[in-house]
């Protein structure tokens, strides 16, 4: 296991704050989009893009790059923010999000946005797509890996479990999935809309290596990814306990901010709370 330094953690925290600010700004300017689920996935995305993924911003289609798949496509503000901060396209472009003629579509579009690897919007397709990518990597004897973030609402979707069976059948140890377990979907708490628990047992029963972590603790995120890398013969799913709206206190755990941008007052308060990155 690679030693994670304090410096690394501090760096990731700083990047995550920058991404959170972008999420608030992007959704505020256009008064549209999904801040809640972008904020909950922010630390996972930060860890991947700023520590784990082998990608080349100058050559987004480098064949041997790792693949990141965002299954819960509505959370694309966090993805676009990470891609911009990694240099895939100019940071200024973030403020065109959801606007006409923009490369930053309301839900990810493959082939338009540099660095985006899948189309999403309808929930529940990303894990299957990731299985396909992972099968291709294996077929070509390539070392690149596939990482996929799903929402917990996506655990309602039948296709998620079709993909789970396929991933296990083919023993895809080059595939790591995350469940952003923020406990909220569009119009309520997951356990009210469609109870998911015991979720770990479900994934175990589907023959995946199952880990559960605090999805806002970088040490735990990186350790889980490390363990996924060293697990042979089956795919890993990391159930990451997260907080919807994480980082902006009045948005945390609020169903409303699934698909609501900030008002002018909220916007000021949110940015003040996030603070200028150290």
């Amino acid at each position: 296991m690679v030693e994670i330094t304090e410096e690394t953690i501090a760096h990731l925290k700083k990047e995550a704050t920058i991404l959170r600010r972008h999420i608030i700004e992007m959704t505020h300017v256009v008064q549209s989009g999904h801040p809640g689920g972008s904020l909950s996935a922010c630390d996972l995305v930060t860890a991947l893009y700023f520590h784990v993924l082998r990608v080349d911003p100058k050559n987004p289609s480098w064949p041997d790059r790792d693949r990141f798949v965002l299954s819960k496509g509505h959370a694309c503000p966090v993805w676009y923010a990470a891609l911009a901060e990694r240099g895939f396209f100019p940071v200024e472009e973030l403020l065109t999000f959801r606007m006409i003629d923009s490369r930053l579509q309301g839900h990810p579009e493959l082939g338009t946005t540099p660095g985006v690897e899948n189309a999403a919007g309808a929930e529940g397709q990303g894990l299957s797509f990731s299985v396909g990518l992972a099968l291709a990597a294996r077929l070509d004897h390539k070392p690149w890996r596939v990482y996929c973030i799903m929402g917990d609402g996506e655990q309602d979707v039948g296709q998620t479990w079709e993909a789970a069976m396929a991933g296990a059948k083919y023993g895809l140890d080059n595939l790591t999935a995350f469940v952003d377990r923020n406990g909220i979907q569009q119009e309520g708490r997951t356990e009210d809309i469609m109870p998911l628990e015991p979720l770990m047992d479900k994934w175990r029963a589907f023959n995946w290596n199952v880990l559960t972590i605090d999805g806002h603790d970088f040490r735990q995120i990186l350790a889980a990814i490390d363990e996924a890398h060293s697990t042979k013969g089956r795919p890993t799913v990391v159930i990451a306990r997260t907080v919807k709206g994480k980082g902006v206190s009045f948005m945390e755990n609020k169903i409303k901010y699934h698909g609501a941008a900030t008002t002018p007052d909220e916007y000021t308060a949110a940015l003040a709370e996030l603070g200028v990155p150290p």
Binding site: G124, I193, M194
Partner: protein, 319 residues
């Protein structure tokens, strides 16, 4: 006929939600199945009025469709309601096998059809559902022109035997129908009479056809406007009469021109009395994020485009 201008803009979902509650009172057998969008599509009000008759299945639209079919098979009138992309394309073969083939009393009511979804972008803007649904044997396909008509469609669906698909928009749309208007499945409504050309619209394009007719009137062109709120079964008689009496037809829809109402009207007209036609709608492309009205301009779904198309048809036939 047409409500006087200025029209007020109203929510189609709002009328749907209200109608459903009233229908639920009158019909103890009416049930609703939802898929994590009940607030948005306003079936939540039915759920508040009749908690035991609203079933929330989560983000699981294929499940929603088959559950609705099962309820219908046991004698219920089952509404399955969500966003159009999920209530049509996403679940197409489930609808085909469990709803259409079975001829069951499932009423699929979907909001968020077409480009006017706006900023969510192409994944959510389904411009193909009318074609998909009208291709299914036995499926009744309704496309209300405004809020009040959406409510009337819900009422009509309950008294229509068998499967119904009804699609409407997320955006507020001008209320153009008259409160006294009756709605009959299979009957197109004459919104405005005219003799030089016919504009056939559905959904929010009907108001744009009326605006186009106003513009044409200034050029001494008398345009007939038809609201084709039932796409299937098609009101062939009304369309045939329009072809014979006006000698040209323009269709307008918030849908692809490949297999929407344009295709439906054209095949009926060609069979009975061919006249020149033009088709206003989304071309063979996906939409994108943007504000609804911007998208209408970019993708050619404006009243001006309808009027242009009418001028083109008249030019082709030598007026």
């Amino acid at each position: 006929m047409t409500a006087p201008q200025p029209w007020k803009s109203e929510s189609m979902r709002g009328y749907f939600g209200k109608a459903l509650v009233a229908l639920g009172k009158a019909n103890p057998d009416l049930v609703v199945v939802g898929a994590d969008t009940t607030e948005s599509i306003k079936t939540v009000d039915f759920g508040k009025a009749f908690p035991e008759r609203l079933f929330q299945v989560g983000i699981a639209e294929p499940n929603m469709m088959s559950v609705a079919a099962g309820l219908a098979a046991a004698g219920k009138i089952a509404f399955a309601a969500t966003y159009s992309v999920f209530g049509s394309a996403h679940t197409y073969n489930v609808i085909r096998q469990n709803v259409a083939y079975t001829k069951l009393n499932v009423k699929i009511f979907c909001s968020h059809a077409g480009l006017s979804v706006g900023r969510d972008g192409a994944t959510h803007q389904i411009n193909e559902d009318i074609g998909l649904m009208r291709g299914l044997p036995g499926m009744t396909v309704l496309v209300p022109a405004d809020g009040p008509e959406t409510g009337r469609c819900a009422e009509a669906a309950v008294s229509t035997k068998g499967p119904v698909y009804c699609r409407f928009s997320r955006a507020d749309v001008p209320t153009i129908t008259d409160p006294g208007d009756r709605f009959e499945v299979g009957k197109a409504t004459l919104m405005r009479d005219g003799v030089d050309i016919t504009l056939v619209g559905c959904g929010l394009m009907v108001s744009r056809c009326l605006q186009a007719a106003d513009a044409l009137a200034k050029e001494k062109v008398s345009a007939r406007v038809i609201n084709l709120s039932t796409v299937k079964p098609l009101d062939v008689a009304t369309l045939d009469r329009a072809a014979r009496e006006t000698g040209g037809i323009v269709t307008a829809e918030e849908h692809t021109v490949i297999h929407g109402i344009g295709g439906a009207v054209a095949s009926a007209v060609v069979e009975h009395h061919p006249v020149p036609m033009a088709f206003v709608g989304v071309q063979d492309v996906f939409g994108e994020s943007g504000e609804a009205e911007e998208l209408f301009v970019k993708y050619g779904l404006t009243a001006a485009k309808v009027a242009d198309a009418a001028r083109g048809v008249m030019k082709r036939r030598g007026r």
